[in-house]
């Protein structure tokens, strides 16, 4: 009945050079996903759907603007009400303080003490997944340890090079961890999903200890290490999860959304994914349109052929254009006679009349934000 017993640490730490140019001007957290979402919507929705409204957000100073642009006043996530509290901190602060020999976790510790919540959840930014943090808390409470980690059984292809895989005993207790770069077999592996539920007092103690020894300020890495040390119980997440770390995993994750089971697991679960509200008119399908197997947001005008695509808001597909197997972000224009396949068009891209943009299933072409494509661009 009471409001949540948890506060959250939301770490927007991950950035991958393999995602460029998609993350040139935005944080990985604000990458468009599944038509109308940004990647951060998944972690943030998991947080607020669990009734949590005390959030310590860690982000890079350089990427904070795209984050704030999307979050706005936080209204959609219920974060603009009295009682809600978001504390924004920058990695740069931690880094600089550590370099100066200062106590770099003090702000985080102060946050944890101010919240007075018995439990704290840590969640990262790069997973497209729909975690039920209340269920994980119940699991944590019934196991009695200080820290509970969340894993997902995945093949090697769903591991990024900086991920960790846990080695578990029969009772799903963390015995050891491997770094993904050291793994050679196909798997499956127990991917560390970067979600932890902890006793707050214990976490404060660990943070104090860590900064006294001037250990790394990377909280996620520390928690993975502590999971092994504490023989943490591991909670198996069985829903949809995709680890977004390069162009291909980004493309595949979007294409996954055309599959009913995966879409239902991620978007239509018992927990809604919340995103920023826009006022758009419905999407209009002309008499000449031919749309199949496509997930599409509102405000679009479709007069051409669109197949196997994931389409964001306010995209125009002209008559006699063809768009297949592609991810099209907001406000793009595909002009008449254009032919787009295996492509990722970033926001505001225009494909001029008769122009062909073509990649391959495993190497989709990425067109940078705002580009006007007026010459054919075909991967051989």
């Amino acid at each position: 009945m009471k409001t949540s017993k948890m506060c959250a640490i939301f770490s927007n730490q991950h950035e991958y050079s393999q995602l460029k140019p998609l993350t040139d001007e935005r944080a990985l957290s604000t990458l468009y996903f599944a038509g109308k979402y940004r990647l951060m919507d998944f972690a943030l929705s998991s947080i607020v759907n669990a009734g949590i409204n005390h959030i310590y957000t860690l982000i890079s100073q350089e990427k904070v603007r795209s984050y704030l642009d999307h979050l706005g006043g936080g209204k959609e996530w219920g974060l603009d009400t009295i009682g809600a509290y978001e504390y924004l901190d920058f990695y740069q602060n931690l880094m600089q303080r550590r370099a100066r020999g200062e106590e770099y976790f003090n702000d985080l510790i102060l946050f944890l003490k101010t919240c007075k919540m018995p439990y704290t959840v840590f969640i990262g930014n790069k997973m497209a997944a729909n975690f039920d943090l209340q269920a994980i808390l119940h699991f944590h409470q019934s196991n009695g340890g200080h820290i509970t980690t969340v894993f997902k059984r995945v093949e090697k292809g769903n591991l990024a090079s900086d991920d960790h895989a846990f080695i578990l005993s029969d009772g799903n207790v963390v015995v050891d961890q491997d770094e993904a770069i050291d793994l050679s077999e196909e798997g499956p592996y127990n991917l560390a999903t970067n979600v932890y539920v902890m006793d707050t007092d214990w976490l404060i103690h660990q943070l104090e200890k860590a900064q006294k020894s001037s250990l790394a300020y990377d909280v996620a890495e520390r928690l993975a290490y502590l999971s092994v040390k504490e023989k943490a119980s591991a909670y198996e997440y069985t829903g949809y999860l995709r680890n977004i770390h390069d162009v291909n995993s980004y493309y595949q994750a979007n294409m996954d959304m055309l599959d009913k089971d995966k879409r239902d697991s991620l978007l239509y679960g018992s927990q809604k994914i919340i995103t920023r509200i826009r006022n758009e008119v419905g999407t209009y399908y002309d008499k000449d349109s031919d749309v199949k197997s496509t997930l599409i947001a509102t405000g679009c005008k479709v007069k051409g052929e669109v197949k196997n695509c994931v389409v964001s808001r306010r995209v125009g597909f002209a008559k006699d254009s063809t768009t297949k197997n592609s991810v099209i972000m907001a406000n793009c224009r595909i002009k008449s006679g254009a032919d787009v396949e295996y492509a990722i068009l970033d926001k505001n891209v225009v494909v001029e009349k008769g122009v062909t943009v073509k990649g391959k299933p495993d190497t989709p072409v990425v067109i940078k934000k705002g580009t006007v494509v007026d010459k054919d661009f075909v991967l051989e």
Binding site: A34, G35, K36, K75, E76, L258, R263, L267, Y268, K272, I273, I274, T275, I277, R278, N279, E280, V281, G282, T283, Y284, Y285, D286, K287, S289, V291, K292, S293, T294, L295, I296, A297, T298, G299, V311
Partner: protein
């Protein structure tokens, strides 16, 4: 804090002529155009015209309407010096206050209006589809030193006998008002949109109800009284799209005109947006087997059937083999397999069981009520 012009939307109507669609909600809450409700139009017009304080007067089944309007945040009416206020019947030391007519509803809410201290009041209906700049109307009202300005639209001469007709002199001053004249002298029809100088209207209403010269209705009582008393009453000529959606026929037609773009409403115009309360739904999914032509579809829909010349509102499910033609499907409706829906309006959260047919003969419009279940087998009912 005083308000220059206070907006007052009359949203109390039961909308009897909309039948099943208003059985459990007020007419202004009826969905329109896939993602709107009718009242979004006057509310958005207010927000876009800079009318920052709006009272919505209602008394019939207000639950859904209240839930839709909330604190007005969807229209940006929750900001500094802005407000949206729902006004319902109440009691005071003088007894109970039901609203017996358009003007009487204003009279019963004098306390609220006084608390806003407006110079002008803008009276609007909650059941018209149109885009209009009330700031321009006010500018003309002030220029004319008018006591009352009535917005008028020219209707085809043969339809004029169905309207309240305003006969004007060359300056636009209204010299005569005829309610549904058999032989109209002009085709300037009142749109039911008024700007009054509040001080004067307050006097007229108060004096009227004090002396049993009851000012119950604007059309029947107040405007004739103003004309008789030689008040400065002017017309404001409007020439865009305007539609009263008070009947099943006109509601269906307005939706089709909206779909075809023949209404000229141009809802893509981002400088005069129509706002609505948006729910957070996933994008729409058009499957491999779907066929969509000439239609408009919004968030949360799952389309696995054939859609032709129709409007599909939020969270509608259309299963395989079904065919929807020339129809309006309202939010949350679930359409089973192999269903045929022709020229119909399907109400909110209706459930149409597999293999059902929804259609009327003789070109009439079929209507399925809100939450109604058609051909649903007991075990299909979720």
């Amino acid at each position: 804090m005083s308000t220059k012009m206070l907006g007052l939307i009359l949203a109390g109507g039961k909308g009897t002529r909309l039948g099943k669609l208003t059985a459990n909600q007020a007419k202004p809450a009826v969905p329109f155009g896939g993602r709107y409700r009718i009242i979004d139009f006057p509310l958005s017009n207010c927000a876009n015209s800079g009318v920052r304080n709006v009272g919505v007067i209602t008394q019939y089944e207000p639950l859904k309407l209240n839930n839709h309007i909330g604190n007005g945040s969807s229209w940006g009416l929750d900001g500094l010096n802005s407000s949206a206020t729902i006004l319902q019947p109440y009691t005071d030391n003088g007894g109970s206050k039901w609203f017996e007519g358009t003007a009487h509803a204003i009279y019963q809410n004098i306390d609220y209006i006084d608390s806003q201290d407006p110079e002008y009041v803008l009276i609007l209906s909650g059941d018209h589809i149109y885009k209009m700049d009330y700031a321009d109307m006010l500018e003309q009202h002030e220029k004319n030193h008018a006591s009352l300005t009535v917005a008028v639209i020219d209707v085809p001469w043969d339809e004029a006998p169905r309207f309240g007709i305003m006969n004007t002199d060359s300056s636009g001053r209204i010299i005569e008002f005829e309610e549904k004249p058999a032989e109209p002298k002009s085709n300037h029809a009142s749109m039911g949109i008024y700007i009054f100088n509040w001080k004067r209207l307050r006097e007229v209403l108060t004096a009227g109800f004090a002396t049993a010269d009851d000012m119950v209705d604007f059309g029947k009582n107040v405007i004739p009284y103003y004309l008789k008393s030689d008040e400065r009453v002017f017309s404001y000529q409007f020439s865009g799209y305007w539609k009263d959606v008070g009947t099943i026929d006109s509601l269906w037609q307005a939706n089709m005109e909206f779909l075809d773009g023949s209404d000229g409403l141009d809802l893509d115009d981002r400088s005069w947006r129509i706002y609505s309360k948006n729910t957070i739904d996933a994008p729409q999914m058009i499957t491999e087997d779907a066929e969509v032509k000439n239609s408009m579809i919004v968030d949360g829909c799952y389309i696995d059937g054939k859609i032709e010349h129709s409007i599909i509102s939020a969270n509608v499910d259309v299963q395989k083999g079904s065919e929807i033609v020339d129809s309006v499907i309202m939010p949350g409706a679930k359409i089973g397999k192999n269903v045929k829906i022709h020229k119909a309006i399907v109400g909110e959260n209706a459930i149409i069981g597999s293999n059902s047919v929804v259609a009327e003969e003789d070109g009439k419009i079929a209507v399925v009520g809100n939450g109604e279940k058609i051909g649903v087998l007991p075990n299909e009912n979720k």
